[in-house]
Structure formats: structure tokens, C-alpha cells
Symmetry: C2
Subunit: 521 residues, 2 copies
């Protein structure tokens, strides 16, 4: 067995059995080893950003890492934006970056670059595998590093000669399981005390506090008994939603909205969430969104057992056994007429089925979707946690691989879609059950909003043209067809509803180009 075989075997032994791959010459022994370790499912992507985003989506829905195989420094660069998103979502991912042979580095060949420095900016675990004998243990350590706590991106750099070299005396891969501790009783009591003492407390939850219905219920029980406003972080990694889950609002993306939500609050108890701060800075707004004079208390964080800590706090407060007012089941009326963003929201609200996973990168066009889907059957919702656009289509690939039993609904805006559109090909190749609703407004509409906030800019100006996606207009039906994904265009609300109905029983991926009004709507 060579180093590559040992690596694959160790990943399998540590329950990592999917590898999203963009191999190159320096990874050929890894690729060849796939034939010897058939338990590993290799999934080809046509661009590294697809592979890393797929691993992010997979890790969010399964709670365990996928492998990602990248080719040298440029491959890591191409995958960096979605690894950034995974880092911010604390998604467990095991990234394997193939490198030149250790004996080759001295020649400074064209593809040589400083992989360690780039990987160091995003990795919770980073190691260069030094010998074929070490690779098995390195891979086990990488999986452990990805799982944490806290979980995150583990990067193992695999020189080609370590990959092709024979294993003479294999290291014994050890599986690590680090238990997450519940917040200790003193801190539980202190949080309960603070909630009781506050005039107008807010409970700001995120991470694993919103990932399960049970954790959400416990958070709602705490809010109910303490009178706290219950809020979710702006861009959760994965959130349980739908009828029967607690009523909860998301902290607004725009600083002025978030400030209004937090107005008058004197205590913010954060649970696996950062203190409120605006996404971007603006000349006219404070970045810090904590109201003047309010206290921020961090209750449980990403290295702790957040759900059980929430349960302990609810019990300490003597909360009721269940939330007072969960979301009632409701569906928007079937929309008709023009395909506005309201109509799109209603159509999506009617299309969600029990257990569905929604990957949301709908941005401005999807502004009405959250409200229209709140009472839909129980579903999970992934958002752009790290803010680097181009996450949606790849994450849908990974979610579909991780949850093959349900259909994935991917709400994708046009500007973001173009970052990692190659994901459609992998959806077709693997026959993944993904419905992509492509929100076409022919604009970087969010930036038009931001440009307006910066100062008045005339339409047709040099500046405005930088945010305009017309001339030529993108035709996503042709683009999807070019990558083997059946596609149709919806010009009206009725056409969108019918296309969503047809997609619900399709085998494999389907793309629906939803033609929204141009620009901000």
C-alpha cells in the first residue's frame, strides 16, 4: 500500500466516505488509489470552488466531514472562498491539498507556491504529511481536527512522493472523540440570574442552537419564561424551520433594521452566536449593534454542548415543558399574475415538503421567501454564513449527497450563481435530486442598494454599469442545458408554480429560471 491508499483507508476508518475532487497530476496516485478503496465515493467537480462548497453543504447537513481533494496552491485558491464559508459556518471539512514531491520543491517549478501560508488563514488543523508511514495517522488527526470542538476546516498537505511512496511501517490511525461539555452549573445559574434581572433581555442564538428543533424548543422555553426576545443570528449554518418550530426572528442584515430589532434591549445573551455587529461598515452607521448600555453575556459557544446547555438553562429557570406558541402550519395562497418577489415567495412557500433542505443564496430577490415559508412543513435552511458568494449551487450538491432521501431546493440569485455554475454539471453527473430556482433580476441588486447608500449615482453611469448584468443578459436555461441539467423559464407566477410541481417528482436535477422584475424588486 502506498501513502495515498493509507490515506483513503484511514479516512474510511474514520467515517469519511465521500471525497469531492478536482485532481491534477500531483494527485494521480490518490486518484488511482480510489480503485483500491471502493468504500470511498469520489465525486468529480469541474472547479475547486464547487468541491469545497459541496463539502460545506455536506458537512452542514450530516454533521460530519467530507474530504475535498485539491490540486496545489492554485487549486486551494480556487477553493478558498467556499472554505472561508465553511470556516465561518464551523463546518467540519477535511481538505487534502496535493503538493509537489518534497524532492521537487527546490526547483521552484511553475506550480510551486506557498500553500501553508494560504491554508493557515482558514484551517483549524494544518499539517504537511511527512512520510507514507505517517499518512494514516495524519488523516485520522485531520478528521479529529475537523470535528473539533470547535469544528472547522482541517487541511492536510500531501506531497506527491508521500502519496506514491510505499508504507513500510504504518502508523496506527487513532480515532479521536472529544466530548463537548455542558456549560457548568455556576454559569447556568449566572445566566438565569442575568435574564431574571434584565428589564428587556434578548436571547441571540446561532450555530448548533438553531440546528435542531430540540435546541430551538429549549431556547424558546427560556425566552417564554424570561420574557426575552428570541432572535437567530443573521446567517445560520443550518436552521430548523417550519410548522411546529418556535417563533423566532433573524437578526437583520442591514444595520438599521438590526438596530430597530434590538432597540431598548438591556441584555443580550448569546448562545453559539457572535455579539451583534453589522455585516459591513458604513460611514453613517455604527458597526457595533449592541444598544448603548446593554450588557452582552456569552452563554455557550462552539466548543460546548450547546443543546444540552440550553436545556440546563431552561430547567434552571423552571421553564414550561414546551414553547408556548410554536409556528402554526400555513401555506401562502397559490400566486398568480406577475412574477414579483412576493409571488416567488408564495410559490416557494407552496413547494416545501416535509424534511426538505433549502439552500438559500437568494439575496435581494428572495426577500419575501422567509416569511412565506415559515409555516411550511418542517424543513432545514442553509444560509450564506461566511458571506462569500457562490456557495449555493455547490452547497446544494453536498446537501444532496448527504441527504439523498429528500429533495434539495436551492434558491440561487443570478450574480452569485455565475461564481460556481459548474456545480450544475456535478448535479447532472451524480443525478442529484436538486431543484434550482434561479432568481434572475439581471443585476447585482444588493450592490445597487449599497451604492445608493453610498451616494446618488445616475443610471447608465460608469459606476452603475459595474452592477448591471444586462448587455448581454444571461440565459440560464441555455447554461443549464450546456451542463446537462433540464431547465425551463418561468415568466409568470403560474409558470413558476407549475414548474415547481413538475420538479417535485423529477429524477435528478432541474433548474427553473425565475424571471423577476429587473434590479431591486
Amino acid at each position: 500500500m502506498n501513502g495515498a491508499g493509507s490515506l483513503l483507508r484511514s479516512l474510511i476508518d474514520n467515517d469519511v466516505d465521500v471525497c469531492f475532487s478536482n485532481p491534477g497530476t500531483s494527485e494521480m496516485h490518490f486518484v488511482a488509489a480510489l480503485d483500491d478503496v471502493p468504500e470511498m465515493r469520489g465525486i468529480l467537480a469541474l472547479f475547486e470552488g464547487v468541491a469545497t462548497g459541496a463539502a460545506d453543504g455536506y458537512g452542514r447537513v450530516t454533521g460530519k466531514p467530507a474530504g475535498v481533494l485539491l490540486h496545489l496552491g492554485p487549486g486551494l485558491g480556487n477553493g478558498l472562498a467556499n472554505l472561508h464559508n465553511a470556516r465561518r459556518a464551523r463546518t467540519p471539512v477535511v481538505t487534502i491539498v496535493g503538493d509537489h514531491a518534497t524532492t521537487h520543491a527546490r526547483y521552484d517549478a511553475p506550480l510551486q507556491s506557498d500553500i501553508v501560508s494560504v491554508a493557515g488563514t482558514l484551517s483549524t488543523f494544518l499539517r504537511v504529511s511527512a512520510s507514507p508511514n505517517d499518512v494514516g495517522a495524519d488523516a485520522a488527526d485531520a478528521v479529529a481536527g475537523a470535528m473539533g470542538p470547535p469544528s472547522g476546516v482541517a487541511t492536510l498537505i500531501l506531497p506527491a512522493d508521500v502519496s506514491w511512496g510505499e508504507v513500510s511501517s504504518p502508523s496506527r490511525p487513532t480515532t479521536h472523540h472529544v466530548a463537548r461539555a455542558v456549560v457548568d452549573p455556576d454559569n447556568v445559574r449566572a445566566a438565569a440570574h442575568a435574564l431574571r434581572a434584565a428589564r428587556r433581555p434578548a436571547l441571540l442564538i446561532g450555530g448548533s442552537a438553531v440546528a435542531s428543533e430540540e435546541a430551538l424548543d429549549d431556547a424558546a422555553r427560556i425566552a417564554d419564561i424570561s420574557g426575552a426576545i428570541l432572535m437567530m443570528e443573521t446567517f445560520p449554518s443550518i436552521a430548523a424551520r417550519g410548522a411546529g418550530t418556535p417563533q423566532i426572528s433573524r437578526l437583520g442584515y442591514l444595520a438599521e433594521f438590526a438596530a430597530a430589532q434590538l432597540d431598548g434591549v438591556d441584555l443580550i445573551l448569546t448562545v453559539d452566536a457572535a455579539a451583534p455587529a453589522s455585516f459591513f461598515a458604513y460611514p453613517a452607521f455604527e458597526s457595533n449593534l449592541v444598544p448603548e448600555g446593554a450588557d452582552v453575556m456569552a452563554f455557550a459557544g462552539p466548543s460546548q454542548d450547546v443543546p444540552r446547555s440550553l436545556a440546563a438553562l431552561a430547567d434552571e429557570l423552571g421553564a414550561a415543558a414546551a414553547p408556548v406558541a410554536p409556528v402554526l402550519s400555513s401555506r401562502p395562497d397559490r400566486p398568480q399574475g406577475r412574477l414579483t418577489s412576493e409571488a416567488l415567495g408564495a410559490a416557494i412557500g407552496g413547494a416545501i415538503t416535509e424534511g426538505m433542505v433549502v439552500v438559500d443564496e437568494s439575496n435581494t430577490g428572495g426577500i419575501h421567501v422567509a416569511g412565506a415559508t415559515a409555516g411550511a412543513p418542517r424543513h432545514d435552511w442553509l444560509t450564506l454564513t461566511g458571506g462569500a458568494i457562490g456557495y449555493g449551487l455547490p452547497a446544494a450538491v453536498g446537501a444532496a449527497v448527504g441527504r439523498p432521501e429528500v429533495r434539495i431546493l436551492c434558491l440561487e440569485s443570478d450574480g452569485s450563481a455565475m461564481y460556481t455554475l459548474q456545480a450544475l454539471w456535478t448535479m447532472a453527473r451524480e443525478s442529484l435530486n436538486v431543484t434550482v430556482v434561479l432568481l434572475s433580476n439581471r443585476s447585482y441588486a444588493i450592490l445597487n442598494l449599497e451604492l445608493a447608500r453610498v451616494g446618488a449615482v445616475a443610471e447608465g453611469s460608469a459606476a452603475a454599469s459595474m452592477l448591471d448584468l444586462t448587455g448581454p443578459e444571461l440565459d440560464f436555461v441555455s447554461l443549464a442545458k450546456g451542463m446537462g441539467v433540464p431547465a425551463s423559464r418561468a415568466e409568470t407566477a403560474d409558470e413558476l408554480v407549475k414548474a415547481l410541481e413538475a420538479a417535485s417528482t423529477a429524477e435528478g436535477p432541474v433548474l427553473i429560471e425565475a424571471m423577476l422584475p429587473a434590479g431591486l424588486s
Copy 2:
């Protein structure tokens, strides 16, 4: 005037008047400032890898930097692979990376990341602009850093508040011109002596030694009088080619071919080129391609005036006034029948016109192109200098912007095309005169070759499937149409010839999908 305006003004003052852009919120003031500085041509790309690759292509054909505007760390990541190529090609590029406001960094907002560490891996100049008053001088210094010598990627990180802040006391941007020195006379004499003393010398030239016909002529004069084998580096940044230029072979990509070319050589005089080493390492081959016992002497490098140094060496040797045997004008016969890679080469050989710029990322499918085009009218040839695929289409964008007076011919392989296909949209938007010949062999054929070198792998195996681009096949005619580029498919040699003829008089971009035999051909 704010910092952004000062930056743009300083770039214009320093002869940087094109900026390939992918802006985000933190760059909105930069975008707004485009309306105040109309001399700056902002060109929108739908993905950062397109913007950076375009800047690489532009810099190669013009010898001066374009600006590239990127959004935060993830934007830099997306642009990294083509900045890697620019670094390797020593292309002057001024990269401006927008960052969060300096006052915002402490909140560790979702898009916060370590930009400096990533940029540090590829920049010859790196600075974080500290105040609006400094931006003008920072931009001038960045242009100087990009121009060198040696030239390369200059990165200026622009925090949002430095961009939006008012300039109260502008720094005076100083334009730097650092002259490149000719190799000193002692070293010229030493090189002449070494060439005379060698039994079988080789002259390995690259960089600016191959960029102009004059430098090539001087190199050929040296080879003629010294009996040296004249060779060009494997992947030059830009090479002058065609009838009337000196006969010169490129050092082979595969180690075994290069070793054969260098067999028996006892001196390698390198001129703006690295000593021969293989592109990748292999278990069965040496990475070092310098023949046993041969000397390597570096004559002129990227910080020197290479063309004038070559002229000095030719004169020192008493070389003839002109090369003995330049390439004669010749055209392949018009190909007919099956569209093999030979037929493709012949069709391209017939399509090259005087002054054309060829951007070559044809990889395996283009194996016969170099031979078939050697006697074509005088043209320039760009190659994948840094080895990071996905450079071709973006570089063609930049070449077309930099040389609007000629048509650009972009030879692009299917696997590489999918990395940065969004470049087609910018070609359409800017109505760039680019003919893209898309070499479709439905395979990462180069990797099939490499996999075969690693060990026998059965077709249809898990490993082989990682290199196979069928299931579904990509349809580049639909993909081009989806981005507004007229496209057709050539199934035969005759269809390709006719499509190339039609493209030669087109306005704006045209894509021709050349259907080569599947896999290696």
C-alpha cells in the same frame, strides 16, 4: 475628493487606465469614483478569476499593468490562481483588494479574513493603505512595484474607510521609472567565453528574450556563431512567432522529451529562463533536467535589460548581422475529413493573420498546433506560464482590451475552459474581437496520460471516472449562447475551416466548439 477618487486619479497619472473589476459592498466608493474619473475604463467580470486572468493577458500584450479590483479575502482567493499565473509570467498587475473599514475589523464580521497572508504569497509589492491622504502615493508605489524590475503582482489593500474618507492633504504621487541595466561587460565576455569553450552548448531563453522579434534575432545570432542549440522555455509569457522569426524549439513539457532535447549538452546558458527542471515530479524520473556534468550559467535575468544584453553578447561574439535561417513562410494544406488534432492544427495554421495574438490553453488537443503555425504570418503566442488552468479565456479578454487593433485567437481546452467560462460574458459585453476555438475531447486528457504514467488503470474504474468529462457531455454552444456569445459546432475539418473564416470578419466574440476525438488523440 475621497481616497477612492485619489486612487483612481493616481492610477491614471501613472498610465494605468483599465481596471478589471468584481466589486462588492466594501468597494462601492471605488465604484462610485469611476464616475469622477472617466479616463479609467472599468470592465466588469462575473468572477474574480476572470478579472485577474484578464489583467495577466493585458499586461503580457501591453507591457504595462491593468488594475484589478477584488472584494475582500474571498475575492482575492477567487482571483488567486490567475494571479499565480501572472506572478510566474512576471506580468505587471496592480491588484486592489477592498477590505473592511479599519474600525470594523475588531468585530470579526463574516467576511473578515487574513488578506495580508494570502496576498503575501504572490506579491512583489504589498501594502495596506493607511489613510486617504496616503492613497495617491500608495497607488503610484504599487504601479512602480508592478513594473519592477522585476515586474510582477503589486497588491494594495484598501480599507473601506480609507476609500471613503476625504483627502485633506494629498500625498504627491511620484512616478518611478527604474531603468533596467545591461549585463556588465565582464559578464558578457564570460558568457562569450563559456559558449566558445563548450563542446555542445544550449541557449535556453525565456521571458523578455522571446517577447520581441529583435531579442529572438539576437539570440539566434548568438546560437548561429556559437553552434548553440537554441531553445525557448516551455511556457513563455508571450513569444514572437511566425515567418521571419528565428527557428527555435520549445523545451518539452514531458521530462523524457526535454531530456532527449538536452542530451549531450555540456553548457546551458539561460537568458531570463530557469534552469531546466520537470514540470511535475515522477517516481521514475529525475526532476532535474540538466544533463549530468553540464554547467548552467545564468546570463541575464528579469531585473536586467535582456534584449540589449543579448545584443551585447551577439556583438561580443562577432555574430552575423542577422540570423542565418529564419522560419520560412508556409501554410498547411487546408484540412479535410475527420477533425483530428492534426486537422485542427492545420486549420489553425491557415487562420493566423499578421499581428494576431494567440492565447494558447489547448493542452493535449492542441499538440499539433505549434508545428502547423510556425510558418504563419508574424504573431504573438501566450502560454500557461504558471500552470494554473483556467487562464486562457480571461487572458484573451485582457489581450483583446490591450490590442484592440487585432483579433485574438484563443485555443481553449474543455476542462480548462470550465474554470473561468464566465469570461465569455465579458467578451460579449465589451464586444471584444476574440475567436475562441474550444477543443472538446470530453476528458481531462492530460491527466489520463499522467494516470497511465502512474500505473495501469482500467477504463470505467472509479479512478478513471475522475478524469472523464462525459456523462453529461458539456455543450459549449449552449454555454456560449447563455452568455451572449454566438457559437457553432465543428464536427469536421471542413466545418472548422469555414467557421474560422466566418469568425475572421465577425464583430465581437465568436466561439467554435471543435469536436475532437474523445480523450487523448
